[in-house]
Each structure stands twice: as structure tokens, then as C-alpha cells.
């Protein structure tokens, strides 16, 4: 109770800070539309949406259902959803603590570490896949030890797909959660600490609930990135139906011979991800 009252003065600048403030703000900026903003916005929207329209217009609607019923399509779709979800879980498990480390601990070289975290964002995914092979492959630095000690090989397995997707998607989660941690009011944490809570308790009972919207937003971004992952997956995990051929890989191969089939597969992936993201948004994120 107290905390929500205390939050208000400090956070009045954020959207959703209170219904009354929101409508007052809207009244204040009413008037002529700023064309300098609206025009580029419409162009930007068209740029993002037109390729989608292209897919819908060119889709072979007459044979759509027949193509969807092919067992390979469902297999690839199932694999994509399972792997993207597992990769997101891995990212949350390791990414949230990593974000906490970057946002809350002072240590030498923190800037360098933060830059390193974003490396998978700028690295071409195929290069990321090769890098993963060099470390976790059968002859890689860690991979050869994994194989000799435990008989585990990651390339060409479903676990390999999850590893590749987590590698590429993790920065999205870390950046999003770190941003939330920096924006969160630290006075609550300090208050909890002065009342005798340990650092772990503070994190679990105060920090985590405060940054939950950031974690969810990061996880959604992370999941979406993992679902569309192609380069690192095909390089590190290979491509075999049922074990490593996810939807993006199936789309790429279909494009080689049957562009129509590739369009259908793309639409399926798109439809499924939009439905899942939209339903998540309603449940987790307070949309205005």
C-alpha cells in the first residue's frame, strides 16, 4: 500500500502513472496534428507492413490447407515453438542475473562486459554459429571435453538449436532487464535492506516485482528473436527434419525449389507468433 503511494510523485513522468494525469496530458497537446511526425510515421509503418501484404497477396490460397496438412510443416512448427520457448527460459535463467550484475554491482571493466553482452547483436548469426562450433563443437574448446567426459555432443541435436537460439536472443533480454533495473527506484531496495532483508531477499521480494514488466517485455523480444533464428541455427545445429529443422530453415530450403511453399510456411510462422504475442500482451502487459 505504502509503496504505491510513494511511487507516484517520483514516476509521474511515465505513461500509465495515473488515469487522471494521462487525460490531462492529452488535452494539453490537442490541436493540429504535427505533420513532421505523422508523415514519417506513416512511411515507416508502410515500410514495415507492405512486405507482409506482399506475402498475403502472393500466397497460394487455393492449396494452402493442403500444404499445411503436410506432416513436415507441423513437425517444423512444433520444433520451432519448443526450441524458442526453451531458449527463452534459458535466457531468463541466466540473463536476469546478468542484467542485475551489470546494473547493480560496481566492478572494474563493467563497460567492457556490457559491450561484450551485445556482441551477439552485431555479430552476423552465421559467424555466431561458427563461433559456437569452435567452442562447443566436437573438436571445440569445451565441446571435446563434453564429449570425452560425458559423451555429449551438441551440434546436430535439438539441444544445439536451443543453444544457438539462446546465444542470439539473450542480449535482447539482458538489455531490456538492465534498462528496467536502472529505471526502478532504488529507495525501495534500500528501505528493505535497512529493515534487515538480505540481498537475495531484496532481489526476490522487492526488485523482481518492480522490474517484472521489463522482464516480460525482454522475454517476449527474446522469444520472437529465437523463433525467427536462422543463421546460427543452421550453422551450429545443422538441418535435419524432426531434430533441428525449425520453420526458418524449412522456409529457406523451400525457397530454393518451391517459393509458394516458402510463402505458406512464412505465413504459418507469422500467424502463430502474432497470436501468441497478442495473447501474452493482453495477459501480462498493461496495454493502455
Amino acid at each position: 500500500m505504502n509503496s504505491s503511494q510513494a511511487r507516484r510523485p517520483g514516476r509521474s513522468d511515465t505513461p500509465g502513472g495515473g488515469a487522471a494525469g494521462h487525460s490531462a496530458a492529452r488535452r494539453a497537446v490537442s490541436g493540429r496534428l504535427p505533420w513532421m511526425l505523422v508523415l514519417p510515421a506513416v512511411v515507416g509503418l508502410a515500410f514495415l507492413v507492405l512486405p507482409l501484404a506482399g506475402l498475403l497477396i502472393r500466397a497460394p490460397w487455393s492449396t494452402l490447407l493442403q500444404r499445411l496438412a503436410e506432416p513436415q510443416v507441423l513437425e517444423a512448427l512444433r520444433l520451432s515453438l519448443v526450441c524458442a520457448t526453451a531458449a527463452t527460459a534459458v535466457c531468463v535463467l541466466f540473463g536476469v542475473p546478468l542484467a542485475w550484475l551489470l546494473a547493480r554491482l560496481e566492478f572494474p571493466g563493467r563497460r567492457v562486459v556490457r559491450a561484450l553482452v551485445t556482441v551477439p547483436l552485431v555479430l552476423p548469426p552465421v559467424v555466431g554459429g561458427v563461433a559456437l562450433l569452435l567452442v562447443l563443437g566436437r573438436r571445440g574448446l569445451i565441446g571435446q571435453w563434453l564429449e570425452s567426459a560425458f559423451g555429449i555432443t551438441l551440434p546436430f541435436t535439438t539441444i544445439g538449436v536451443i543453444v544457438a537460439e539462446a546465444f542470439v536472443a539473450m542480449p535482447f533480454l539482458v538489455i531490456s532487464v538492465e534498462g528496467a533495473l536502472r529505471a526502478a527506484d532504488r529507495r525501495f531496495e534500500e528501505a528493505a535492506a535497512t529493515l534487515g532483508a538480505s540481498r537475495w531477499t531484496v532481489f526476490r521480494r522487492v526488485t523482481l516485482p518492480l522490474i517484472m514488466p521489463g522482464v516480460v517485455a525482454g522475454a517476449v523480444l527474446c522469444w520472437a528473436r529465437a523463433l525467427g533464428e536462422f543463421g546460427a541455427t543452421i550453422t551450429f545445429a545443422g538441418n535435419f527434419p524432426g531434430t533441428t529443422r525449425t520453420m526458418p530453415l524449412a522456409v529457406y530450403l523451400a525457397l530454393e525449389t518451391e517459393p509458394d511453399a516458402a510463402i505458406v510456411l512464412s505465413l504459418v510462422l507469422l500467424a502463430v507468433s502474432v497470436v501468441i504475442l497478442a495473447s501474452l500482451r493482453d495477459r501480462w502487459v498493461n496495454s493502455p
Binding site: G137, R139, P155
Partner: protein, 268 residues
Amino acid sequence: MFRRLSRWAVAVPVALVIAGLSGCGSSDTAGSTSSAPASTSAAAGAKDVNVFAAASLTGTFTELGKAFEAAHPGATVKFNFGSSATLAQQIVQGAPADVFAAASPATMKTVTDASLASGPTTFVRNRLEIAVPKDNPAKVDELKDLTDPKVKVALCAEQVPCGAAAVKALDAAGLKVTPVTLEQDVKATLTKVELGEVDAALVYTTDVIAAAGKVQGIAFPEADKAINDYPIATLSKAPAGDLAEQFVDLVLSRQGADVLTKAGFEAP
């Protein structure tokens, strides 16, 4: 400021008109006489030959491109190397290609069916080999060894020419191989061998030679049943006109054949 702008305003259309005229001239009048003025106007930098070629031709065509530029001062050969199937799709979708060299007749057919080229010529053939890591950890020495479930095998996906050839060779041998991965092109397949991630793969002889000792190649008799023909053709609407024909002539010449056979290709 204004003067500089107006100078550009004149110069740009003039340059475009010159480029356009010389482009039309060379494609309208076929014959050896028109090639002389075409190559002089090339000094203005207007003469590019865009060659779309199969990934397996990367080394040899780059070499031939340099020879072509040396023989045709002012001309520039630009390459787009990639999976033949992808290149064929790009051409059908309107990519500005002058020459298409494919790794299989099927991918060339995509382009000829769209009436974008006609009368392709087979210029080389390529044969499959088993590629194994240098130390050959699984002791592979014939095609039958690939059927062992303990041997990790990479093949090209059936949608790309090297994968189609692999299926044909294995069918001819009556063998059933379960690969761990179906790669998107022959270079990716070879990389898996180079890194030691698989014990064996079926790739082209030329790729084994190009890997220069990083992998070991093993020839197998069933490869005779799955030899790939490489067709080449100029596109009917080639913007480079005669220059495109001349590049194809170079590939088909004695000099071209020498470069290609040195890399492991076979004469058609």
C-alpha cells in the same frame, strides 16, 4: 553554390544519356564491328558484366574475371556467387544479370522456362567425392562406410544440386545413409568436415581441391552415376550485350577450360 548545383544538373543527365546510348548501341547491332565502340565507351565506366554463378565456381570464375578485365580494358566483371537455385530465383524475380552459370540443368531450366535465356551450353562437369577430416577419425574409405550409424555424415539438402547428386549416387549404389544434417549448400557441407564436426560428407571434387589439404578426398565408383552438368547462358535481356557473349566465349575457350580443369572440373 547555385553554379555548382547547375553544373551537376547538366552533367548527370548527360552522363546518363551517354551511358544509355552506348548500352543500346551495343545490344541492337550484333556483330564484331560494334564491339569496338562498345569497349571504348567502357572507358567511361559504363561497362559492367554481371555474372551470376554457382558457389562452386567461385575460385575459377574469379580468376577468369580478372583475365577478362585484362583483355577488355574498362570492363568490370561483377560476380554474384551463391546456390544455383537461389540465383535462378533472383534472376526470375528481375535481378540484373548478364550471364548465368548454374551447377545443374534443373536450376538453369528455371531461367529458360521463364524465357529469360535460351540455348544454354554445358561447359564443365563435376563429380562427387567423399570428403573426410584430414585424420579420417571414422576410417572411412568407401561409400558403404557411410551407412554405419556411428559415422556422422553431412549431405547437401536435396533441393540444391550437390544434394540431388548425392541422392542419385546413393540410390545407384543401393545404399541408405542417415545424415546428421542436410546443409544448405556445398560450402557449408565442406565446412562441417573442415571443423571435424562430421566424419564424412559428399561434396564435389573441386571443393576438396579448393580446401587445399584441410580435408581428404576419397573417390568412389558410384560417383559416375551422378555427374553434374554445369550449363552457362547469356540472358536475353543482358544489359551488357556483346560483352556478356564475350565472357561466355572466354569460359568456353581453351584458356577457360585450362583454368577449370586445373581446379578439378571435367570437360563436358
